[in-house]
């Protein structure tokens, strides 16, 4: 479903991603781990369509479409969802109003009728239970005055309502205490489906105790330097990112003895 080929990305002339290759199939959960500054969030933002990043080389396929050719809102309408690391506040705009606008934009894109208000409310009331947020959050302004944990849960709530095909969770675990982490993970697990792919971007392994990934990739210095199954995450946790970086450092020598 998602195929990234040799992706190079620069920000203000500074290379961040230096040839990322990645393939994610429907129904799979992939984790992308890496130290700070490795380019994890850049990758997420580029997939979502952030304009401030410049793709200098490589391609990204979403199904059979060129993802990089699509506007951010078109990507969203086609089923790409990103849970933000830092969800923004929109004062005065209620969560429900925001979600309804999003939902209707997506439905319009698909050539479907707008959902009627009653039906929409039913969906919203149901889905918010998934992340254990109080019903009052439905009518509160988007992220305004939410705690860090509430913001992250609100992202997963939005994901549940908007029903994406590809979900990218950008450090959804950062700043969460253990209870909130479990809640968020439970929410995500409930949203795992054979026709949906999820990319989990995280610094720490602990989230992956709850959202067990099919594949784990380590991003370092703008490249994916190691891939493996869920055990790779545990090994990383035990040995630290220094272990990977040391391995990478010796690799060229090994290749050219």
């Amino acid at each position: 479903m998602l195929k990234i080929e040799d992706l190079h990305v620069e920000v203000e002339g500074k290379p961040i991603l230096k040839g990322v290759n990645l393939e994610v199939a429907s129904g799979e959960v992939h984790a992308i781990m890496g130290p700070n500054g490795s380019g994890k969030s850049t990758l997420a933002q580029v997939l979502a369509g952030r304009e401030s990043f410049e793709v200098t080389r490589g391609r990204v396929f979403y199904g059979d479409r060129d993802l990089l050719d699509m506007e951010p809102e078109e990507r969203a309408c086609e089923g790409v969802f990103m849970a933000f690391q830092y969800p923004v506040e929109i004062p005065g705009v209620s969560n429900v109003y925001f979600l309804k606008a999003a939902m209707n934009a997506i439905r319009k894109h698909r050539g479907e009728e707008e959902l009627d208000a009653m039906e929409f409310m039913k969906v919203v009331r149901e889905k918010i239970k998934l992340v254990n947020l109080d019903q009052s959050f439905i009518s509160r302004s988007v992220n305004e005055g939410f705690s860090g944990g509430e913001k992250k849960r609100n992202e997963i709530f939005q994901m549940a309502v908007l029903d994406p095909i590809l979900a990218i969770l950008d450090e959804t675990d950062s700043g969460l205490d253990i209870d909130a982490l479990k809640t968020v993970a439970d929410g995500v697990n409930a949203l795992r489906r054979p026709d949906r792919a999820i990319v989990v971007i995280t610094h720490y392994q602990r989230l992956l105790n709850y959202i067990v990934p099919d594949r784990v990739h380590v991003l370092s210095g703008g490249e994916i330097v190691k891939s493996g199954d869920k055990d790779l995450a545990l090994e990383l946790e035990a040995r630290g990112y220094g272990w990977i970086e040391a391995q990478v450092a010796v690799t060229p020598a090994e290749r050219h003895p």
Partner: protein
């Protein structure tokens, strides 16, 4: 260009039984201003002597005044001798024959605002049949209002039919010496609205110039007077969300409100005069003096305004809180896009004991727009226990616009409580990207974010008006985010 419509309404009005004095003079008086012009205007309108005298006093005083320069708006000098101060309605022949002849861009805007075809014709001045729905609707309303003793008519009619009320209250809130533009208006005002709510009457509907027969373009010097007698209530709507073009560049209106004991007046405005083009050419100069006097104890005056039009907006709807425990409110949204300039705000003058005032101002600047909030809160010596809460928020879109805040506070009674909050925010790329990532297009996102920002003001508007205002804001800011 509402001239065709004027004529039609004038003609239609003649057949109504409420004794309108419809003035269909076809000739305009020559350009320029002198005492003779003032006399002519008064004579044409068949005014009683007290009014002519009042106009003349205003004119003579105006001659001694200087155009204000303290405001934060810039425009080339106005030649006051190059203005026609009295022009009778033009014939329908000048207007477009059908909507096909109207500027397509204007029609597009109407479309976006969801304005009916018939209303589009009215607004763009197409010569329509003299018999149309709004006239009969208006008549029904008038009958209902008359039963309650409510007087709601044009200013000219009031002068003829209720001269004693006009004489008693005209200039009682905005004296003819008040300021350059108000004084000019006092000398040459053409027409406007008059409204009197008798004791104990709660006006059962929102009064709108739209439903008033004769509510056509009242010219560049409009005068409105609203009096709410003891224990009465009225909600008054001014303006229209549809963009209006007008050949007169200078508009200097005066609005006076008087609230007697326990009376309440709610005055809502949506102003969408032609703002000029994208390069800043053309557009209306809107120099308005609006003031309400809470004369009675426990009275309340509430101003709500949504200002999106005009190339220059200069207005400070104010409250004189004279009656003990009286309340003044000001809720404002002002938008400046392209090269628009707005210098707007309010004055709350606390005179009586335990008077309260609330100010909520939301300024939005986009393009090269310059938006100034200017507000004064004065607590006079006798105003023991007075309270004020002010909140001024500015939002910037892009980096070529400006937001300015000039709050003046003067407290002469130590028991007063004052609160002032201010914020400036930039509509963030982050916010827009967040919306886009959820499938919402940039323009819808901007409109949503801005509407959220203005929520506290919009909820003060009557329901229907609020819905229209919301759409209007979106249209006004179209194209302001790339």
């Amino acid at each position: 260009m509402p001239s065709a419509n004027e004529t039609i309404q004038e003609l239609a009005n003649q057949e109504y039984k409420y004794g309108f004095v419809t003035d269909i003079e076809s000739d305009a008086i020559p350009r320029g201003l002198n005492e003779e012009v003032v006399r002519t205007i008064s004579a044409r309108k068949n005014e009683p002597n007290f009014l002519l005298e009042w106009r003349l006093r205003a004119y003579r005083h105006w001659l001694t005044m200087k155009e204000p320069a303290w405001h934060n708006v810039h425009y080339p000098p106005i030649d006051y001798q190059d203005i026609i101060y009295y022009a009778a309605p033009k014939s329908g022949k000048d207007g477009p024959k059908s909507l096909d002849e109207v500027d397509p861009e204007l029609l597009q805007t109407y479309e976006k605002l969801g304005i009916s075809l018939q209303e589009q014709e009215r607004l763009s001045g197409v010569a329509v049949d003299a018999v149309f729905d709004s006239v009969s609707v208006a008549t029904t309303f008038r009958e209902k209002l008359a039963e309650l003793g409510i007087i709601f008519c044009s200013f000219s009619e009031a002068v003829q039919n209720h001269p004693e009320l006009v004489k008693q209250y005209l200039g009682s809130v905005v004296p003819y010496t008040d300021n350059f533009f108000a004084t000019l208006n006092s000398a040459v005002f053409s027409d406007g609205s008059f409204c009197y709510i008798p004791k104990g009457v709660r006006c059962p509907m929102e009064l709108s110039t739209y439903f008033r027969i004769n509510a056509k373009d009242t010219g560049q010097f409009e005068r409105t007077l609203i009096i709410a007698d003891d224990d009465s209530y009225v909600s008054y709507l001014e303006g229209c969300t549809a963009p209006r073009r007008d050949e007169n560049q200078l508009h200097a209106a005066v609005v006076e409100l008087v609230a007697l004991d326990r009376a309440q007046i709610k005055y809502s405005t949506v102003q969408n005069w032609y703002p000029g083009d994208k390069e800043g050419k053309g557009g209306i100069y809107n120099f308005v003096t609006k003031r309400g006097k809470c004369r009675g104890a426990d009275s309340k005056i509430s101003w709500t305004q949504v200002e999106t039009g005009s190339s220059i907006t200069w207005k400070y709807p104010s409250c004189l809180l004279q009656g003990d425990r009286s309340i003044g409110e000001f809720y404002s949204v002002a938008v400046t896009n392209n090269f628009q300039q707005a210098d707007t705000g309010t004055k709350m003058i606390h005179i009586g004991r335990d008077t309260r005032s609330t100010i909520v101002s939301k300024g939005i600047s986009a393009g090269h727009g310059q938006n100034t909030y200017r507000g004064a809160v004065k607590i006079l010596k006798g105003a023991a226990g007075a309270r004020n809460y002010s909140q001024c928020d500015s939002m910037l879109m892009g980096d070529a616009c400006g937001a300015h805040t000039f709050p003046y506070i003067e407290v002469k009674n130590s028991t007063a409580q004052m609160e002032h909050e201010a914020s400036t925010s930039k509509i963030g790329e982050d916010q827009i990207f967040y919306c886009k990532q959820r499938g919402i297009e940039a323009e819808d996102a901007v409109s949503m974010i801005v509407n959220g920002f203005c929520k506290e003001v919009f909820r003060e508007l009557p329901m229907e008006f609020a819905v229209e205002a919301r759409k209007l804001l979106g249209v006004s800011l179209e194209g302001s985010v790339g």
